[in-house]
Symmetry: C2
C-alpha cells in the first residue's frame, strides 16, 4: 500500500479490550522522512494528552536524534485525540459519551495495524513517547516483543498510580460539574468546567519551584495570571470536552500488567521486554514521579533509567524548555546508536 | 473581664488591613485549663482551614505538651471559619460575598483584642498552629515581638508561594464554576462545585506514596473511592461555600512581609522575630513544601527547623496519624521546656 505522508487511515472494525468493536475505526498519523530499503529505520512516536500529531514535531528535525534524513518517523494520533477515532468524530451509536471505553492496548492494536497493513513494516527501531505517549511505548514493547528494538518512554509510567488517578479524577469531576456539559450532549463547550480543568492542570503540570522562579516569563507571559489564562486555559479550550474525558479515562485505566499472559503482574509484563530502553523521568514531575518511573525501569532488563534535571515538572517532556529538549535528544541519540 | 471557657467574644468594630471596618466583629474561641496567677502559662492555638475550634483538640490533653493541667490553652477561631465573623453569619451589608477581604493580620488583630481586652493577658508562652494556623503563628511573632515567647508553626509558610496560589486558584475556580454558586447568593450549597473542590483537595493534601500504600485503609475506608467520598467530600460539604472562599482568599494573600515597618520584605519581617521557634514541615507536603518552610525558618534567629518524617503529605499535621501527632507533641514539649 502506498500511503500519503499525512492522513487518516481506515482500520476497518477494531476489536477493543472492553469487548466492544469500533466499526470503521480510523487512525491519524504523519510520517517524516522515508522508509529505507531494509525497512529498518522506523521510529514510532505516539501522541501524549491531549495532543495531535502536529503538536509534537519539536522532537523531529535535521541534526536531532529523530532526523528525517535518517529515520522514517511516524507520529501516531492516539485514539480519542480528535484525529483518530474519537467521541467528536464518530457517528452514532458511538458518538460523544457513547464512544466505547478505550485502553492503551487498543491504541497499540490500531497503530500495529497501520504500521503492518498500511506501511508494510515488520520491524521498529524505536518507539518514543512522552506522558501518555510513554504509556504507549511501554505497551508496544510488551505486546510486540520481537518487533520492537528500542523504546524511550519519558515522563510516563507503565501503570497509572493511585495518586495520579486521584488527580485525573479531580479533572473529571471539575469538567463534568458544569451543567453545560449535559452528560456529553453539549451544544457549546462547557466553558466553565473547562476553565476549572485548566486551572487544576496548571497546578500539577509544573513544579513548585517553576512558579517560584517565574519560569513562565521566558514563554512570554508577564504575570502568573497571564500564564494561567494565556497558556493553560487556551490549551484545553480548543479541545473537545468529550475527547478530553475519553482520553482521561484511558489514562486512568492504563496498566501494562493487564497484557495477555501476565495475569495482571506489571513486574512480569515489564520483565518480558526484550527491547533496549532508556526510561526518563522529570526530576520534579508531580504526577509521573521519578520514584514510580524508576520502579518501572527496574523491571526491564535492558533499561537505563535517567532523570531529566529540570524544574519544569511534568512539562520537562513537553518540548517547551530548550535544556530539557536537548537532554532528551541526547539520550535518544545514545539509545539509537546502541 | 470574666469570660466563659467557650464562647463568641464581641470585638466591637474591627479595622481591617484592606481599609474597611467590620462592625460588631466577633471571634469564637474555647479555652482549656486555667490561667495561673503569674499569667504566664498561655498558649494560643488558632484554627487551620477550614476548621472550627472543636475540630483541633487532638493536640490538647493530659500528658501532652498542651496539657490543660499546666497551660491555659485558647483555641482561636480564625475570621471566616463560620464561628468568628464570617460571610455566613454577618448581617447585611457585609453578608456572603459582600464580606470584606480579610488577611492573617486581621486575625492577629482580632485575637490580640480578645486576649488582652477579654482575658487580660499580656504574655504568651506559645502560639502553635497548623497550616493556616501556622500563618497566624508567624504573624503573631512578627506583630507582637515583646509579647510572644515561643512559636511553633507547622506545615505552613509565612508567605503563600506562587505554586500554592495556583492550587488555591484551582479550588476557587472549581467551586465558583457551579452556576448554583450564584455569585455567592446560593439558596442551596453549590454541591457540584463543592464536590470538585473536594476532589482537588484530596489530590493535593496527601502524598503520592500515601495513595500507593493505601494508608487511608486504617482510617476505615476499604477503597480509594470510599476514601474520596467518605472523607473528602464530607469534609467540605458541611462547610459554607462563601466561608470556604473567603478563607481561601485570605490564604492566597498571606504575607508576613507586608507587616508594618518591613517594606514588604519577608526576610526582614522574619528576621525581627525574637520568639524561640520550632518550625516544622511535613516531609512529603506538596503545597507547603519542606523547601519553602525551611527558607522561612532560616530567617528566624531563634528557630529550629524540623521535618516530620511522614508519608501523609500536608495531612501530617492534621492529627489523624498517630506517629506524626507524637512527633509534633515531642517537638512542642522540647520547645516549651526551653
Amino acid at each position: 500500500m502506498n500511503l500519503p505522508a499525512e492522513g487518516v487511515f481506515d482500520l476497518g472494525d477494531l476489536g477493543l479490550v472492553s469487548g466492544s468493536t469500533l466499526p470503521n475505526a480510523k487512525i491519524g498519523y504523519k510520517a517524516h522522512g522515508a522508509l529505507n530499503a531494509a525497512k529498518n529505520n522506523v521510529v514510532l512516536y505516539p501522541t501524549p494528552y491531549p495532543a495531535q500529531h502536529g503538536d509534537i514535531e519539536w522532537l523531529i528535525g535535521p541534526g536531532k536524534a529523530l532526523d528525517p534524513a535518517k529515520y522514517f518517523i511516524i507520529v501516531l494520533d492516539q485514539l480519542g485525540n480528535g484525529l483518530s477515532s474519537s467521541p467528536s468524530n464518530t457517528p452514532a451509536p458511538f458518538d460523544r459519551m457513547r464512544f466505547p471505553a478505550i485502553t492503551i492496548h487498543d491504541d497499540v492494536s490500531a497503530q500495529h495495524r497501520l504500521v503492518t497493513t498500511g506501511f508494510g513494516i515488520e520491524r521498529i527501531a524505536l518507539v518514543v513517547g512522552y506522558s501518555m505517549g510513554a504509556q504507549q511505548a511501554f505497551q508496544w514493547a510488551v505486546s510486540h516483543l520481537g518487533m520492537v528494538e528500542r523504546i524511550a518512554p519519558f515522563c510516563g509510567t507503565a501503570k497509572t498510580t493511585p495518586h495520579n488517578w486521584v488527580f485525573l479524577q479531580s479533572l473529571y469531576t471539575a469538567l463534568t460539574s458544569d451543567p453545560a456539559w449535559m452528560d456529553g450532549n453539549y451544544k457549546e463547550q462547557p466553558a466553565r468546567g473547562m476553565r476549572a480543568f485548566a486551572h487544576i492542570y496548571a497546578s500539577w503540570a509544573l513544579s513548585q519551584r517553576f512558579y517560584k522562579k517565574e519560569l513562565y516569563k521566558p514563554l512570554g507571559f508577564a504575570t502568573l495570571e497571564d500564564y494561567i489564562a494565556g497558556f493553560w486555559e487556551k490549551r484545553y479550550a480548543r479541545r473537545d470536552a468529550n475527547n478530553l474525558l475519553i482520553l482521561l479515562r484511558k489514562w486512568q485505566l492504563n496498566d501494562s500488567g493487564m497484557s495477555n499472559g501476565f495475569g495482571g503482574s506489571l513486574e512480569r509484563a515489564l520483565g518480558s521486554i526484550t527491547a533496549k530502553a532508556v526510561v526518563m523521568a522529570g526530576q520534579t514531575d508531580l504526577y509521573f514521579t521519578p520514584e514510580d518511573i524508576e520502579a518501572d525501569a527496574s523491571h526491564i532488563r535492558g533499561a537505563r533509567y535517567v532523570v531529566i534535571p529540570s524544574l519544569w515538572g511534568h512539562m520537562a517532556g513537553s518540548g517547551l524548555n530548550a535544556a530539557d529538549t536537548q537532554f532528551i535528544d541526547t539520550q535518544l541519540k545514545t539509545l539509537l546508536a546502541s
